[in-house]
Symmetry: C4
Subunit: 406 residues, 4 copies
């Protein structure tokens, strides 16, 4: 099959999937299986590309390896080009550009951050292929840097981190100001104390600043070290300040992170909770209380969620996918809206079944500590769980009895 | 225009603004737009000054650059002098010195921490200009250090940090004592073990202390390193202790910081909440519950607060400034007391409008997790939100219908 | 006694304990006294083995020490072999392999992670003994590494840590991606800036990566250090990013850890709470509230739990073992289901007795802060405590009176 | 006055204070003013002693300084001896040794940790004075190390830290095991990879362990650095693990510390709350709720607690000492049981008075966020505060009117 024909087949295949589907697969935070596969593939391609660029920057490489790496770089760029075209084609599906013409939507996207990074990730490799840019040259290295930025667009919790930093920016700025004050004060003081003895390391304030930042971050290269007693005392103060700055920074981010994470998990649970009939039957008041206690967990297929004989510390509600409950003599499949693991909480005994995922599964987890608390305040939910649980057990026993009599 | 005349114009301009306004703009924690602009300007001037001092400390600088930097230093000092005079002139407005004569108030301020730092920041540069102090000399560098301290006076969260450290001082002191005990014990022990082999590094306890502090803070310059097996074992213990000390310090500050931040945010919300009529209608009991769940956010103009089609995780109440709600076919302006973003929470759908700030805006944010909790316990608030929301939607639809029929 | 006979006696002894008992002692998280002794013994043997391997890797060792270490290694391996055989023999007791034939259960276990580590820990030492592997050789060192892994199987909180990391994996991955982005960006930038000056350290991107990772983790060996101004500025940014990455990581893990620990402690208390009659009498609603406030503590024998005259900040319920309450003139023993320390909370006075454990003891601790809260909401529990407390005091006084009259 | 006579006077002075008072002053955690003064004095003496030992260990010291330092060491030892004797004399007052004979109590204390440290702190200096120990010798340095340990006995929060570490010991042990596993694995792997190239640094596993611990704690001396690509990759992994270990450790300690600190603060408040009549009037249920929201703060004399015109974020209850409330035209003194700062919370206006301590003062702080919450749930307390507040205001106005008419 010749090159152009192959390309044609690719385009045809692209046409065969609807544009909406392409859009949803490429969407950064989509939870569908196709989107997850795409992200895994994208990540692998990206890693291969970065590795190839890194290797090809080594000087005395055998010729075949050098060419091999160049080929990988081009291949990665081709894939990124295909991705870029697909994104450009499917972007009018986005509700953000709703009400615009297709051309307008594409133009807007092409000049957005995502669009520009996508384009820049493609350019250098083709420059290299066509010989405009030398693969060994600096420019290649710089442009390939853009590939790393693509990583950031797909990191699932990047948004949470960005919001924490944004929410706490006033406090972070204050810590940074303390950092700068200590830095400048220490650099000036050691400059005065050490410059006669070590003109190269402490001869000017900027030179001293290099020492100060290496010390305050407790990196401590050791290329410049104070020799006078006064300089050493200041250095000790700077190091201790370094620990304090780190502790403050951590305290700020830990606090902000806990709060933000709680909020996002709440929203994630709200999204999932509507898929479980048992919950939708509850009133808003009760539901809002339960939502805060559930956790969302995603599992790939063929994972053991619950293992027979282990202590049971949680029950699970299925909101997506299917699991197989392996009882000693039989096995049952449960789909969306089903739940399992409640027996261990109700009877306080070890798990009586092993549960394995058969597909990618999304579960809502309710931990024992919260289950008992809910049991105390919302008896209706626990009663519903108990009723269903009894029904199942009766069924199992009947089946077992049937199996034995047969 | 000659120098004296220009000065005269400046004074006239100063007179043209009332003294109360000057005071409020210069107040460290004022939230008005003028005050914020002043702080940004002050920060820029300060940075330029520090940069100039740093550069001029480099030895072999071309003559023109050296003179340029000296000019910048003088300019910065002139601005700081103007600031100092303005502060001295306007300080009787401060309620802290209420009931004193103007002269008394100014004297008190001049000898306060802020007043002294302000004065000291001005002195050296004029010394340099008049030739009393040599611009390259050490004294200049030392005095310019005071400029860095000015930074601290304007850091917004510096006060929170100071209070956390003050509240936790007993615990911090204990960690510090552990730090000192480990330090002295390690220094003495390695002094005994290493001094025969390395008389320069471990010959006396103070010398060993230098190594110990470099190691305990995990800075690790590597200028002094134990060579005996015993010394290395002690060093390993010291490093591990360093990690423990850092962890303890972080734990203490994180805990204290979370508590203090919660308290300050509560007060900030109390200040803002009175500007929203919907809240003032509530009783104190209900209000005190809601205040703990709101967060204050400041936005500069032309910032997208909410973006169409993104998942909605919060609603906003405007307490200052104005925003533009960009609906698909129309756009509405909302001012103080208004709210937006509630539709996404009520319908659990993505945002149906983009909201952009048109002025510096202060918002109260209510996150979804807290909204549903409040919905459960204070139905009246949510009902009020819903009623206003329906009214708006009806209005939009009517407008749209009108637009289409026209 | 000849070798084979001794072996025979060992087997006979093994037979004399039931298989179920052997299984329970070897179970990783069993709380029985036998299991705890076994773990202490196992830990000691492991440490001795690791020490011996470490020592024997030193080059110029006297011959007798070398042979001694080899003997220790073999001895450790023999003990691990015995352990492996015991485990293989007793594993059919495990409920996880319930319903399988004994051979099947053993085969399954032998190919599980635990089984493989157990086997690999035995192999090398016998290779050394039989001369197949040279004790000084690399292979020996590699295989002995497996001994370290055995440690992990017995660490009590390893499971909690593993779950925290698993629950927070999306966020940790995001921080890691930030880490990689900073790393690659810094390495490329410094490569471009520094490679002419320092071809050995920054000649290629991979070489620069080494410098970048040493700097970003704030390790700072100092073997490669940037010399250009640009390179130093990038280095400063990398160091500060290093602090931020550490702070973010800590924030994530601290949050996740607190949540997970709360859940596990809740389950641990549920397990113990059924052994105290006073609690089992309470309804589920009340109980679920109390369980969240109790803490489980294990004490070895002869430990002072409560000391006379110290301020009392907690009361204790005994769920396992026995304690001795030492009153001024008499002493009482309390067993499972008993409680002590309540007087200090009820009277707000210092402890009036010293309490010492006589056996390994498991206690439920109720701290003062929670006691008063419970006192406010569940008066029945505190009343029961008070009644029992009065009864005891009366008894003590009667006894005392009796002692004095006699 | 001759030596023996002076001694006699000292003994007489000691007799003139009652033994109970001596005991209470020397008690480590006593909050009385005498005890606090003693601790400050003890700390100063200790610091002087440590400094003297450190200085005298420097080699080429002028003779007069050497002798001066020796004199300081002896003086410190004399003071410590006096302290030791006083403690031994007063210890029968301790309730811990209640019911024992005086001699028995003293013997028990002499062999307790505190007693032994007290004795050992005295011994070396007298050895030096009498010439048995040479002041420059190692033994002197070792013994003086014991002085550092005395510090630990007086650190106010040392007990909290000790309990956190004890409560979390299982988890800390697990992190430590991870630490050891990474350490041994990394040391073995780099030993295999690097030993041919660097026999001195990586020639044996123990030598590699030194490198591994320096790297894993991110100390990074740089004395031993891997040169092979494989070694560098392992080193990178070790550094990243180092960050993870630090993050885990911090997470554990931060969680444990927050919980323990909450408990201890609760007890400290319980102790103080009984001194405020307004609180003792409340029922236990209400009180237990309020106690959790109060914070204890100690202030030395002449400290500004509240400053006129600053935003008010808290009110204060006095449980010990006296403050002066400085109103514009008058000033009032408030003693134990009084409260101030409530106006700012009730009116939401800046402080209308400056409050200064006149003696060492202990206050209970109630922050605004908690005040409003309590106002909502316990209206009686706020009503009582309001009534007293109105009474005061009326009084002030009457006084002011009187002052104006006079």
């Amino acid at each position: 099959m010749s090159g152009p024909r192959r390309l044609w087949f690719g385009v045809a295949a692209a046409n065969s999937l609807t544009r909406a589907r392409a859009y949803s697969i490429l969407r950064p935070y989509d939870n569908s299986i196709g989107a997850r596969h795409w992200r895994a593939f994208h990540f692998a391609v990206l890693s291969a590309g970065l590795l190839a660029v890194a290797i090809s920057s080594i000087d005395d490489l055998p010729d075949w390896l050098d060419r091999g790496m160049a080929a990988v770089v081009v291949l990665v760029a081709v894939i990124f080009l295909a991705e870029y075209i697909l994104r450009l084609w499917s972007i009018p599906e986005s509700a953000r550009y709703a009400g615009m013409s297709e051309a307008h939507a594409r133009l807007r996207w092409a000049f957005s951050l995502n669009g520009l990074i996508g384009l820049l990730a493609v350019v250098p490799a083709f420059g290299i292929t066509t010989g405009v840019i030398n693969a060994d040259s600096d420019i290649a290295a710089i442009f390939c840097l853009l590939w790393v930025l693509k990583l950031g667009l797909y990191a699932p919790a990047m948004e949470t981190l960005a919001r924490v930093i944004s929410n706490e920016r006033a406090t972070i700025a204050s810590v940074f100001i303390i950092f700068v004050i200590v830095l400048v004060a220490a650099a000036t003081a050691t400059h005065l104390l050490e410059r006669t003895g070590q003109p190269s390391g402490f001869g000017s304030v900027p030179a001293s600043l290099w020492w100060a930042v290496v010390t305050l971050t407790t990196t401590g290269y050791g290329d410049v070290v104070p020799h006078t007693v006064g300089g050493k005392m200041i250095a000790a103060l700077v190091m201790v300040s370094g620990i304090a700055v780190l502790a403050l920074m951590t305290g700020i981010l830990a606090t902000g992170f806990a709060e933000e994470e709680r909020r996002r998990e709440y929203l994630r649970v709200w999204d999932q909770v509507t898929k479980v009939p048992m919950f939708t039957a509850l009133g808003t008041v009760t539901l809002s209380e339960i939502v805060g206690k559930l956790r969302v967990r995603h599992y790939p297929p063929r994972i053991v969620v619950v293992r027979r004989d282990e202590p049971g510390d949680s029950m699970f509600f299925i909101t997506e996918g299917e699991v197989e409950v392996r009882l000693p003599h039989t096995s049952v499949r449960l789909g969306q809206g089903g739940f399992f693991g409640e027996m261990a909480l109700l009877t306080r005994m070890p798990r009586n079944a092993t549960v394995v995922t058969t597909q990618p599964v999304t579960l809502l987890v309710l931990y024992a500590s919260d289950f008992y608390e809910i049991a105390a305040h919302i008896p209706t939910l626990v009663e519903a769980v108990e009723r269903e649980s009894h029904r199942r057990q009766a069924e199992n026993e009947a089946q077992l009895a049937g199996a034995e009599t047969s």
